[in-house]
Symmetry: C2
Subunit: 247 residues, 2 copies
């Protein structure tokens, strides 16, 4: 390790060679979820290159030390390249790193979870042959590249557990939305039904939504529902009690 008391930091840095240490590979992967017809889906891409050529994988790839300013920007970039969308919600989940997860050697991946509303008008994804929205359970049943089954499970767990005390699923809906739609989003993410009254009481008393004055879409059966959108900035509300399975 190059160092001496007489060497100042400037001098040290000019002599420093990054290649002196064997550094792990560093990638960023993104599990992006959305609701399509009420079902939770995750975006996967089919790998065109070795290793794991032909397998489906979470979108991601190597950090570009020239153009990426930081990790979350790298994650956003990977996502944008695949979906053409700037993820409305992006959260770092965890980092996996060991000697075996990538056959190329010791590698580290920083996993992000993203949520977006599925815009049925945006064909950008469906038309790309190697990127597809998968129903979550189908995605989890197949053999994904690398350790992406584990990563997907970790992201899924983060989504579920945070849904119990936040309003995360709000990011899977287009605005404005009805309370029933929001409840169904929660139920799909949690994998369990919720009590209507409790849910509405919880959400409304948190004071994080505002009624959009808009008229309800015509053609629906039954009483038209009120339409809401999140109040600005208040989307990261945390409840002091957990919802669902009151043990």
């Amino acid at each position: 390790m190059a160092n001496s008391d007489s060497m100042d930091e400037q001098h040290y840095l000019t002599n420093y060679q990054a290649g002196d240490y064997s550094s792990p590979l560093v990638t960023v992967d993104v599990a992006i979820f959305t609701l399509i017809e009420g079902q939770l889906h995750v975006l996967l891409v089919q790998r065109g290159n070795h290793p794991a050529q032909g397998r489906w994988a979470l979108p991601g790839g190597f950090i570009d030390t020239d153009s990426d300013l930081d990790l979350s920007e790298a994650a956003g970039r990977k996502l944008h390249e695949k979906t053409g969308v700037n993820a409305p919600y992006l959260e770092q989940v965890c980092t996996a790193g060991d000697a075996r997860r990538d056959p190329r050697g010791w590698s580290v991946t920083v996993l992000y979870m993203a949520l977006m509303a599925h815009a049925p008008t945006a064909e950008f994804v469906e038309t790309v042959t190697d990127a597809r929205w998968w129903p979550l359970s189908s995605a989890q049943q197949q053999h994904l590249a690398f350790d992406h089954n584990h990563l997907l499970e970790a992201a899924r767990q983060r989504l579920s557990s945070k849904t119990a005390y936040t309003v995360l699923p709000i990011h899977t809906l287009d605005e404005p939305f009805t309370l029933t739609q929001l409840q169904q989003a929660f139920e799909e993410v949690l994998g369990a039904p919720l009590e209507k009254k409790s849910f509405r009481r919880r959400i409304l008393s948190a004071d994080i939504l505002e009624e959009s004055g808009e008229a309800p879409p015509p053609g629906g059966r039954g009483r038209p529902a009120a339409l809401f959108r999140p109040k600005a900035g208040l989307e990261d509300h945390a409840f002091v009690r957990v919802v669902g399975e009151g043990r």
Copy 2:
């Protein structure tokens, strides 16, 4: 990117050169907390080398791709090298990475938080001139190396927020302990007083402690307290309501 349809994965891998991409530097840092005389302390080491020579920093360093099997093992190793202790509790907090946090270039660090009981008999740390337990507030007031002020704050936040719905501070105590000691540990971590009755009700009804039959230490004033230790395996209990500031 080297690839062709005719090349099989084995062939690809033998031709693969890790140096082909400019990879960020990868380090692991650990914020280890303990209680010393009721006060929360964090272990810092003074850097002997450039960069940031002479500054105090969280213990950590480069991944050793030869000997480290995975990230948490690397974190455990860094900790062991500094404290001679295998951390009883180790949790990954987050990963920071950008072009500027280290003057040597694009770097990524995986931050872990650790908790341990302060064994007054263990001089290993105090005698090493470049490693010291700092009261948390003193540590946070000085200018630490790199972005370690931010990392320390992130670890501190994780500790506080998880303390609100788990029993994390249990790992800062020697066994057996009294409920009063446990409550004081919670209060120190949360930075706020707790109601005695609520606290005891919560902890006892969670059924995660067992009474150690041991006799209370002599010499104390007042009624002797019952001594407890955690039941095996049940230390990661999660409550469905949050403690402290019942808003």
